[in-house]
Symmetry: C2
Subunit: 208 residues, 2 copies
């Protein structure tokens, strides 16, 4: 028997509970997931769960934060591979769309999260995914590459568009085909943020 510290044990207990919760929430949805089943799957009981997370929502919050952090890390990594910040922003958006196709992400973060925890902006104090996009938008604004719109607004709408694209793709029959269309439309929309020569107005056919 390897001697282990108490804190290590606790950490593992928390990890096992979150792991089981991710699985259960993704498969059955938050509402239909039973905490008895969930904890049993992790070799524990509800006692441990309430001790560590307070209530069912607390567990969902912990799960969402974990997944959100993973997503942000992956998105930043993908975005940093791009040739420039603009392509980086697009790449991040596309990465969100693709990540959102995973049942864990979709079911837990995109559907149950907002429904049971409220608006994502209130999760934990910040949403890592949003922050990543937000920062990229600010950088591009400073570089004069995109228009001077509110950075947070742009980031939120971009993420919203990506999210909806993912829900659409996931529910479709030919996911590959739809994915291509969604990405094209996304790049198109994002292009609206780009700065254009002053001679070209953003809106056509303005009356009188």
């Amino acid at each position: 028997m390897v001697a282990r510290r108490r804190s290590e044990m606790m950490e593992e207990t928390r990890a096992r509970l979150i792991h089981a919760a991710r699985k259960a929430f993704a498969e059955k949805g938050y509402a239909a997931a039973s905490m008895d089943d969930l904890t049993a799957e992790a070799g524990l009981t509800r006692g441990a769960l309430y001790h560590h997370f307070g209530d069912k929502r607390g567990l969902l919050l912990a799960v969402v934060n974990q997944i959100d952090a993973e997503m942000a890390t992956r998105a930043r990594a993908i975005g940093s591979l791009a040739d420039n910040d603009w392509e980086g922003l697009l790449a991040e958006g596309v990465a969100y769309i693709e990540m959102a196709l995973e049942p864990e992400v979709q079911r837990i973060v995109l559907l149950d999260g907002p429904a049971f925890l409220g608006d994502p902006s209130n999760w934990t104090s910040q949403n890592s995914c949003l922050q990543a996009t937000w920062q990229k938008v600010e950088a591009l604004t400073a570089q004069g590459i995109i228009k001077h719109v509110d950075a947070e607004a742009a980031a939120r709408l971009l993420n919203g568009a990506a999210l909806n694209a993912a829900l659409w793709i996931a529910a479709s029959d030919d996911q590959q085909d739809v994915l291509v269309k969604a990405i094209e439309a996304f790049r198109c929309l994002a292009g609206g943020l780009m700065e254009v020569p002053a001679s070209l107005p953003a809106s056509p056919s303005r009356r009188s």
Copy 2:
């Protein structure tokens, strides 16, 4: 006592249940709303509810469809007031953002709907709001005003952006201020769909 047909009574019963459900779902959320309380509010019991709607999800579906239809009607009306189809599309989008600020719409259609009924595209067979945007996009494509992207994709991403904007606004402190920013960003994004002279590439600084 006014003599009334059976079908009229039933129709009123359904309407009263849906009305009570809209109120309860909007205030407490779908999960926390009790069907006993809800039906009592309507002067009925759960018996009537299960008779007409099958189960709790069936009631939610009926409520969502009703609100969705109302939203689409309002959006089309607003869109048709615009000077041209392009401004109509933008006006519809802005209208969605503003409508989504209403607790009924936000809580029921945007949060609980997707969580408990699945992707909106599977509701009833079509989502009226999406259809309205879709049609406008197709019309604009035919007129050569916007690029040849997939119309459904564009419509879905636009609606998704509007939806997310609404969630943001609703959770913010200064709703008026945020609403202005969101609308500006929305118009900006939507502008990305517009056709531009071929001499200007959609993407800047392409390498090699």
